[in-house]
Structures are given as structure tokens and as C-alpha cells.
């Protein structure tokens, strides 16, 4: 293991190590896109990249929320279930109860944030590991979904269909309004993490919760805050997914927590917390999206290769993380 330790100490000593995973992801993305363009003629159409955004807008929002949680060194396994719950509640209220869209939207967003807030409180005040609390949250949200209904509910409420069908055009290409919302979320999140007190506290807690506490930083508020943000982002992701699918289904977004975690990790955020960028997460989501697109373009490979490739990438990037993090004493 001497070589492993040597490489690690050399890499850990460099100033640029924070950006190293980001560069690696960027290079990977360029490589994958390049290979796609070389292999397939239609791949060079800019719409291909825009479609990746359209197909993964909801994942992007969820992954941004997950970035906050992982930056504090935690994990949120409940996101997929909260997404499904949001689509289900929205569909039931809109179609079954005939609620107007402007009442449903704030309600579901508040519901997601409240769930996140509750989990954050349990994690912080009762010192239970995040993954088990959010696991319980996942059971709870999926269970609520199944209790509401097991069949798919189609949404044909005017606001939802408008959001699903309208296109934001520039030139020959277009994106959906959901992508605009997702990009706004990304920009706000990037601003919060880089320039606000909440952002700096998030990094500080991830770096070392004990010193953050001794420095007098509001650990409780920040930690509960990041889970609330993640809950809110999951609910918003759920709304975007229901725009995309125009249906509520308790089986939506099964396994999305893994995609979100994979996107965050591939985007270079350290799982131990304290280092990472929202931009990295965007790149991570793009990598996942391009993998799907490449496999679709290829046509010979079955869709389950996506999972295997994502697993392999996850492994490679985690190994890279191990190389660049200094050994904790």
C-alpha cells in the first residue's frame, strides 16, 4: 500500500486538490460528448445537450438539495420518496379534489420542506445517524404514497399541461420551463453556498462539526436548515417531475436518491463533507444524462448498462476522493 499512500500524500499536498475532481468530471464529460459526436452524426445537434437538461431537470434540482446535505457530511436517502409523494399529492389534489394550481404548489413545497425539517431536527437533537433517519423518512413518504393510491393518476389541469407543453425557444432549439426553474435553483444555490453566511456555515460544519461548534457557529440551525433545503428541493423536483410526466404515481422516482448521490459524488463533492460545488453537481447530472443518451444512441446496449456504468463511475470517483483527501489523524 506504500504506492497508494505516496500518491495520496503527493496529491493531498497540492493546493489545487479541491478542484481536481471537478477537472476530472469536466474531462470525462468532454470525452463522453466528444466520443458521441464522433460516433453519431445527430449527436452534434445542440438540442441533444438541451434534451439532457429537459430529461433531467428534476434530478438536477434534487441533486442540488443533496449537495447541501452531503457538504455537511450527512446523507438524505428520502429524496426519491419525497419526489414521488409530491407527484402523488399534487395529482390527487388537482384531479380528485379539484384544487387550483396556485394552492397546490405552495402546499406541496411546504410539505417537502416540513418533512426535511422534521428529519433534520431528529438528526440534530437526538444524534441519530442521518442515513437511518432519512431511511425512516423514505419509508414514511413511500408509505404515504401507497396509502393515497397505488395506481397512476393522470394530470390534465391547465397550468400543469401548459408547463409541460410550452417551450422556451432560442433559435432552432428549445428548453422546457422546468429547465429554467432548475437553472434558477442552481444559481440561487451557488450564490447561497458561495456568498452567504448559511453557505459558509455549511462548509464549516462539513469540515469539522466540533470546531464549527466551538467557533460559535449556529450548528443546529445550519444542520436542520440543509435537510429542510433538501426536502424543499425534493418537493420542487417532484413538481418538475409531475410537469414532465403529467401524472402522479407512487412508483415514480424509485432509486432516485442513488442517482442524486451519484451525481453529487461524480461532481466532486467529498462525501465526508466540507468540499464541493453546485457547479460540480450540475456536471455530475450532465454526466449521468450523457451516459443515458449515449446508450440510447447506441441502441445495442440495454438500459441496465446505465446502472453498471454509473456504478463503475461512482467507484472511480470515490477512489479519486480517497487519493486527494488528507488522512485524518
Amino acid at each position: 500500500m506504500t504506492t497508494f499512500a505516496e500518491v495520496r500524500s503527493r496529491l493531498a499536498g497540492t493546493r489545487q486538490r479541491r478542484y481536481l475532481p471537478l477537472y476530472a468530471t469536466l474531462a470525462l464529460l468532454a470525452l463522453m460528448y466528444g466520443s458521441g459526436v464522433v460516433q453519431y452524426e445527430a449527436f452534434s445537434d445542440p438540442q441533444v445537450v438541451l434534451n439532457v437538461f429537459i430529461d433531467n431537470g428534476f434530478l438536477l434540482v434534487v441533486a442540488v438539495g443533496m449537495t447541501f446535505v452531503i457538504l455537511t457530511g450527512g446523507i438524505d436517502l428520502s429524496v426519491g420518496a419525497v419526489v414521488a409523494l409530491t407527484t402523488m399529492v399534487s395529482a390527487t389534489l388537482l384531479e380528485g379534489q379539484g384544487w387550483p394550481a396556485f394552492a397546490v404548489l405552495p402546499l406541496v413545497l411546504l410539505m417537502g420542506a416540513t418533512l426535511g425539517f422534521g428529519m433534520g431536527c431528529i438528526i440534530h437533537y437526538f444524534e441519530i445517524q442521518p442515513f437511518i433517519v432519512t431511511l425512516a423518512g423514505m419509508f414514511l413518504a413511500r408509505g404515504l404514497c401507497y396509502t393515497i393510491g397505488t395506481s397512476s393518476i393522470t394530470i390534465d389541469e391547465p397550468f400543469w399541461t401548459t408547463m409541460a407543453q410550452s417551450k422556451v425557444r432560442f433559435g432552432d432549439n428549445f428548453i422546457s420551463p422546468s429547465v429554467v426553474i432548475a437553472l434558477v435553483v442552481v444559481l440561487v444555490a451557488a450564490y447561497v453556498l458561495a456568498f452567504t453566511r448559511l453557505g459558509r456555515n455549511t462548509y464549516a460544519i462539513g469540515g469539522n462539526p466540533r470546531s464549527a461548534h466551538l467557533m460559535g457557529l449556529p450548528v443546529a440551525r445550519t444542520r436542520i436548515g440543509v435537510y429542510t433545503i433538501s426536502g424543499f428541493c425534493s418537493a420542487l423536483g417532484g413538481v418538475l417531475l409531475s410537469f414532465y410526466m403529467l401524472s402522479g404515481n407512487s412508483l415514480h422516482a424509485v432509486g432516485m436518491e442513488l442517482d442524486a448521490i451519484a451525481a453529487v459524488v461524480i461532481g466532486g463533492t467529498l462525501l465526508t463533507g466540507g468540499s464541493g460545488f453546485v457547479l460540480g453537481t450540475v456536471l455530475g447530472v450532465l454526466v449521468l444524462g450523457i451516459i443515458q443518451t449515449l446508450i440510447t444512441f447506441d441502441g445495442r446496449l440495454s438500459s441496465w448498462w446505465t446502472k453498471i456504468v454509473i456504478g463503475a463511475l461512482l467507484f472511480a470517483f470515490i477512489l479519486l476522493q480517497r487519493l486527494i483527501t488528507p488522512r485524518k489523524q
Binding site: M1, I75, I122, Y125, F126, E127, I128, Q129, F131, I132, V133, L135, A136, G137, M138, F139, L140, R142, G143, L144, Y146, T147, T150, G255, L258, I261, A262, V265, L271, T272, S302, W304, W305, T306, K307, I308, I310, G311, A312, L314, F315, I318, L319, R322
Partner: protein, 353 residues
């Protein structure tokens, strides 16, 4: 009485008994066990039989959690092993040939060992956090299982293979015998040799045990290998019971049930002390909960809600911070209402397992 209540298995067992008794109200014949056509029949037998795969997975999980780790990939390993065995059997000309089935089983279990070793390698040698290291196999494993089954559900028609999960031996379901044997072996190895103590010491403090001369890496590696093997056996049981392999849904969310069983059984997620008997009780409790929900006519969709409730309560009771906060509050409060024998009994009841 007090020592009985304070025994760490008291609460899991009490919950199990309460659940079983509540079934009696809905199905009066719940506890009857009879021999029909030389086979044991009865709701209790069914609970143990359908709970056998969960017991297996939870046993492996107990050892991993005792070393301070976690294995999220067991569900995927269940799917992969079932898929491999079914694929091997479906490929051979005579599906009923015993030798062919044995080869398939050996192949599947060999692969399970290998997958467990991969997890163990990542955790013990490379030093990746267990949640993340096993997450890789959890994600990629579903893909692997699909790859083996080619995205289809493989159906087999093999009576020797059917024996593993759905057959009977000496009037007892074979799956129960396997679960019993593996549990007995685990208890023997961990409690009659020093192995159990070594695992607990690694879980308590891996670095300290290494300095004390324990090969902590080897112990951790072994725990993951055993977890993989146990998940493999469970995968064989599940696929054999339904005579088919489904790469997508076999063993879905099994890791959560297994973790739940271990936690209910009183093994701390922080590592260290573990209880194999507790895990078995925990697994049976979860299976009984599922069965109860079916027999009492509560919509089965709510099973997850109940599980969420159980996980939350069990984790809260295990958390030292929660105990400190709640019991401190309890001690302060009794000054207001007249503290009588009633207050004393509640105090006794609230003592967590």
C-alpha cells in the same frame, strides 16, 4: 421481574408476542400447527418460512454492523445470485438433474462470496466509508442482475431447486432448516470461539484492536464476505420459492428490512456489541408485522408506514441523546402531579431494552 424487563431481548420479544397475540383476535386458528400430507402447516410455520431469507440476510448484516459498518448491497446480491442460479439451471438440458442444480447453487454462492469480498476489500483495504462502498454494488448490482437475466424474468421448472425455498425435508420446510443451521453455526462460531469478541472489539475501536494485535482488516473483510454469502443463500431461497428470477424486483428494499431487523434486535448501529438472537427475533418481528397486516385486512400498502414508525421509535429509544432528554424531563416533571406507585411503574416500563 426487573432483571427480566431489563434484559436486552425483552422488548423485541414482548413486541413479537404482542403482535402474534393480536393475530389471534382476527384468526382464532392462528396458533394451530398441523401435519398435512407429511408437511407441517400453519401460520406460525409460514411466518418462519417466509422470514427465513430475511433471517439469513439480517445475520450477515449483524456481523457487518457489529464491525461498525453497513452493507447496502445485500438486496442486489440477492437478485444477482437468484438470477445466476436460475440462468444456469435454465441453460442445462435436464432441469431436474441434481448435479446440475448443485453446480448452479455452487456458482451462485461463489459469486456471492466474491461480491462480499469486493465490498470488504473496498471498506477494509481501500478504506472507503461502508455506506458509500456498498452503495456502488447496490447501484451496479441491479444492472448486473439484469445483465444475467437479459432483462427478462427467468422461470425454471426444477424440482431439486424448488426444494431450497419451497420444499420440505423431514416434514419441516427446508428453508427453515437452512436458516436454523446457519444461525446455529453463527452462534457457535461467535459465542463459543473468540471470534465474536474480536468482531466486537473491531467494532468498538478498529485502531485500538489493531494495536492490541487483532488483524482488524481481516475481521472486517470476513464480516463482509459472510454478509455476501448469507445474502446469496437468501437469494437462492427467494428465487427457488417462486421458481423464477427477477433482476429488478427480487430483494428490493431487503437491505432496509435487514437493517431494521438488526436494529430492533438491539445491535447498535455504531458497532461493537451484537446479538444474533436479537436479530432473529427482529427478523421474525418484521415478517409477523407483514403477515399481520395481510391477515387483519389492513391495506398492505400501509406496511411501509408501520415500518417507518417502528424504525423511528426503535432508533429514538436506542439514542442516548433522546434518552437523556426524555428521561431528564420525566424526572423533573413528577413534582407537579402526586408521585405515587403509578409513576414508579411507568418509570419501569419506559426502560428501553
Amino acid at each position: 421481574m426487573n432483571t427480566l424487563v431489563k434484559h436486552r431481548l425483552f422488548w423485541p420479544v414482548a413486541m413479537l408476542v404482542a403482535l402474534l397475540l393480536s393475530n389471534l383476535a382476527f384468526t382464532p386458528s392462528f396458533f394451530s400447527v398441523e401435519v398435512r400430507d407429511g408437511h407441517l402447516y400453519g401460520s406460525l410455520i409460514d411466518i418462519v418460512r417466509f422470514g427465513a431469507p430475511l433471517i439469513m440476510v439480517a445475520l450477515g448484516m449483524t456481523l457487518v454492523i457489529a464491525t461498525g459498518g453497513i452493507d447496502l448491497s445485500v438486496g442486489s446480491v440477492v437478485a444477482i445470485c437468484g438470477a445466476l442460479a436460475c440462468w444456469r439451471i435454465s441453460e442445462q438440458g435436464d432441469q431436474n438433474s441434481v448435479a446440475g442444480v448443485l453446480v448452479a447453487v455452487a456458482l451462485a454462492l461463489g459469486l456471492a462470496l466474491l461480491l462480499g469480498a469486493w465490498n470488504g476489500f473496498l471498506v477494509a483495504v481501500v478504506g472507503i466509508q461502508p455506506i458509500i462502498a456498498t452503495l456502488i454494488l447496490m447501484v451496479a448490482g441491479r444492472g448486473l442482475a439484469q445483465l444475467i437475466t437479459d432483462g427478462q424474468i427467468i422461470t425454471v421448472n426444477s424440482s431439486p431447486y424448488k426444494l431450497i425455498g419451497g420444499g420440505y425435508l423431514f416434514t419441516v420446510p427446508f428453508a427453515i432448516l437452512v436458516a436454523l443451521a446457519v444461525t446455529a453455526l453463527a452462534v457457535l462460531l461467535t459465542r463459543r470461539t473468540a471470534l465474536g469478541m474480536l468482531i466486537e472489539s473491531v467494532g468498538g475501536n478498529a485502531e485500538a484492536s489493531r494495536l492490541a494485535g487483532i488483524h482488524s482488516r481481516r475481521i472486517t473483510l470476513m464480516a463482509y464476505i459472510v454478509a455476501g454469502l448469507c445474502a446469496g443463500i437468501a437469494g437462492l431461497m427467494i428465487s427457488s420459492n417462486v421458481s423464477s428470477a427477477d433482476g429488478n424486483n427480487a430483494g428490493l428494499w431487503y437491505e432496509l428490512d435487514a437493517i431494521l431487523a438488526v436494529v430492533i434486535g438491539g445491535t447498535s448501529l455504531a458497532g461493537g456489541r451484537f446479538s444474533i438472537a436479537g436479530t432473529v427475533v427482529g427478523a421474525l418481528l418484521i415478517q409477523t408485522l407483514t403477515t399481520t397486516i395481510y391477515t387483519t385486512g389492513i391495506p398492505p400498502e400501509t406496511t411501509l408506514l408501520f415500518k417507518a414508525l417502528v424504525v423511528t421509535v426503535v432508533c429514538l429509544v436506542q439514542s442516548p441523546a433522546f434518552r437523556a432528554k426524555v428521561f431528564k424531563g420525566r424526572r423533573r416533571r413528577p413534582s407537579a402531579p402526586p408521585a405515587g406507585p403509578a409513576a414508579a411503574t411507568t418509570e419501569k416500563v419506559e426502560v428501553p431494552a
